[in-house]
Symmetry: C2
């Protein structure tokens, strides 16, 4: 941020009176510009014993597999957003969804909120951000080719819950990758 | 938003190529300015059979009672943010917290995420945004003087769960108030 979005004058960084954090401040019109984390909402689409993944047609992580997810938009509920993303990326209509997991990606100012639930039909199709979409059994999950750590964490917990026969709500923190992505058992 | 925060030129509203929503666009530097919902994080601080509420010393809803909560900051996890707000508003240190509820306030582009859990001590104190803070039994909750619908919904579900002896994760939508705030049984 270089300029005030209200009046167009240059901003500077400083701690406002009564605050304890640096903000972008405009001395011309007095506006304080707060910046806050964004929510990413998504889901695990289920069809019988399989779950759906999308192969990304965009950067970052072009060609890698992911669950449908994206930024929550103004005016949406988290469930609305997750359903929209499932349709945009995989032409999937979700039936009843259960809240499944929240992951903090504090290092990029993102909060992921993931649902799980059945699709209304096994008919799926690649949206603009997907090369292809496919249903996977647990044994077929491409663990080494998942796009993001948060998706690996979501799926790891999902299959563990399914194995024990009970889904609970999960919460976790995702740290920055210190090395290249390497599978389901590393941080 | 009137001016581009990147280059300072005037912005206009339009739908970017490949998008389907209005955004603030800068024709000078080409930047698209996305706006997304903000998260508000808070908690229900418990001490034995009581829970803590804060009486607000700021607008909106000056003088009304609320659970400690506030905007999630960049770099924070949702739990970090809820703990920070509990300390800032009520000088409360929270022990282990459980995720308790998510509420969509789509009409104001806010997502509330609430925890519950015990305080580490019954010693509390009013922070800058509180006139006073107090522990309440269920019978003493000032239902008619709660600051926000989302807090009434949180507390209603909390005491119902406590009554039946099991806390589960809740999700709900809060609609705009169509009339003045009037107690725990109206929408």
């Amino acid at each position: 941020m270089n300029y005030c979005s209200n009046c167009g004058h240059p901003v500077h960084i400083g701690v406002p009176a009564g605050d304890d954090r640096n903000r972008y401040l405009c001395d011309h019109c007095g506006m304080i510009h707060y910046q806050n984390p964004k929510m990413v909402v998504g889901c695990i689409p289920e069809w019988e014993e399989k779950i759906l993944l999308c192969r990304r047609s965009i950067e970052p992580r072009y060609g890698y597999w992911t669950l449908p997810a994206g930024y929550l938009e103004n005016g949406e509920t988290v469930a609305d957003g997750a359903r929209r993303e499932a349709f945009e990326e995989a032409r999937v209509r979700m039936a009843v969804m259960e809240p499944y997991a929240l992951f903090n990606l504090a290092f990029v100012n993102q909060i992921y909120f993931m649902f799980r639930g059945p699709m209304t039909s096994p008919n799926v199709g690649a949206g603009d951000e997907s090369l292809t979409v496919r249903l996977f059994t647990e044994d077929d999950i491409p663990w080494d080719d998942l796009a993001f750590t948060v998706m690996r964490e979501t799926l790891t917990r999902y299959f563990r819950d399914r194995e024990r026969g009970a889904f609970s709500f999960h919460m976790g923190d995702i740290a920055p990758l210190s090395k290249s992505f390497s599978g389901p058992d590393t941080a």
